[in-house]
Amino acid sequence: MKNKYFLGFSMKLSNLIAQQIKNWFPAQVASAHCDGPCGVYDPASARITAEAVLSMTKKIVGLDAPAPGASPADIVAYNNTLSRFIAIKEEQAQKTKDDLLILWTDYFKPVHLEKYPDLHDTFWKAAKLCSACKVEVSVQHAEELMAAVESIHNMFWSTKDRDVSFYKAS
């Protein structure tokens, strides 16, 4: 009983002391932020995922459906392959969108907008294309997304006064 009373008193005293310490001596800040501290941005990540979207879209379009009367194993294999292609396409499209939005909202500043008045429009349309590629199976939209990523790539590196040529891994 005495022990319980002592613990309660100790906690109250600790809280009181802590509050006074907080008021009198503000603590130093330890940053737990994202992006800001390192300032490392690169549209390459969006390019890789956009390429994956285009690749998977082409694979889905080119995938042969099992012929009528195909064995159950062939049908299962087809369903499995198609499901995996769709899952990867949607995942990569979402990643592309995330990467583009980070570039748009965190890297680009008002000063860049003066140089590129269509900056907002470019990113907005690119983000819309990511959504379209995620929802649909459209080679045309996937190719338009690659073109949008390329124009963002050129815009990005020109803000750094660096000539980085656009290339594809596939």
Binding site: V29, S31, A32, C34, P37, C38, V40
Partner: protein, 138 residues
């Protein structure tokens, strides 16, 4: 594996008076949900023997490229890296080289999508670690 941070005890408040403990206020959400924006922690200052720092400990450290920026992250891996140290010798015409093993740390935020960490700036040298979080300040 201990991921939670213990609460402050009375003895921790007493120790805070010593030069071996410092308070830090967390700013941002990269350590969420364990540490939220505005939480305060008590840190045991690096005493040049970080052997007590282990994987999954939360540490306060300097950013490798921006030394005026203090961050809070969790240690995900520790490695020993061989480095060559040049030390001045008694003879002015010669220098002495010694190979020593230095510890390096891979740090990450708990909230990966809201964290800039070793995934971006790589392994962190031991001398950048300010200290290990020992408990949450009340």
């Amino acid at each position: 594996m201990r991921l939670e941070i213990s609460d402050c005890r009375f003895v921790d408040l007493i120790l805070l008076l010593s030069p071996f403990r410092r308070r830090f206020r967390v700013s941002g959400l990269s350590m969420s949900p364990v540490l939220q924006d505005g939480d305060e922690v008590i840190v045991k200052i690096n005493d040049r023997s970080l052997s007590s720092v282990r994987v999954n400990d939360v540490v306060v450290l300097y950013h490798p490229d921006r030394h005026n920026l203090i961050m809070i992250k969790r240690i995900k891996d520790i490695c020993l890296k061989k480095t060559t140290v040049v030390t001045p010798s008694k003879s002015p015409k010669t220098i002495e080289q010694a190979t020593m093993k230095a510890r390096q740390y891979f740090v990450q935020g708990d909230n990966l999508s809201a964290s800039t960490d070793s995934r971006h700036f790589g392994w962190v040298d031991e001398n950048l670690i300010i200290g290990k979080v020992v408990c949450r300040f009340l």
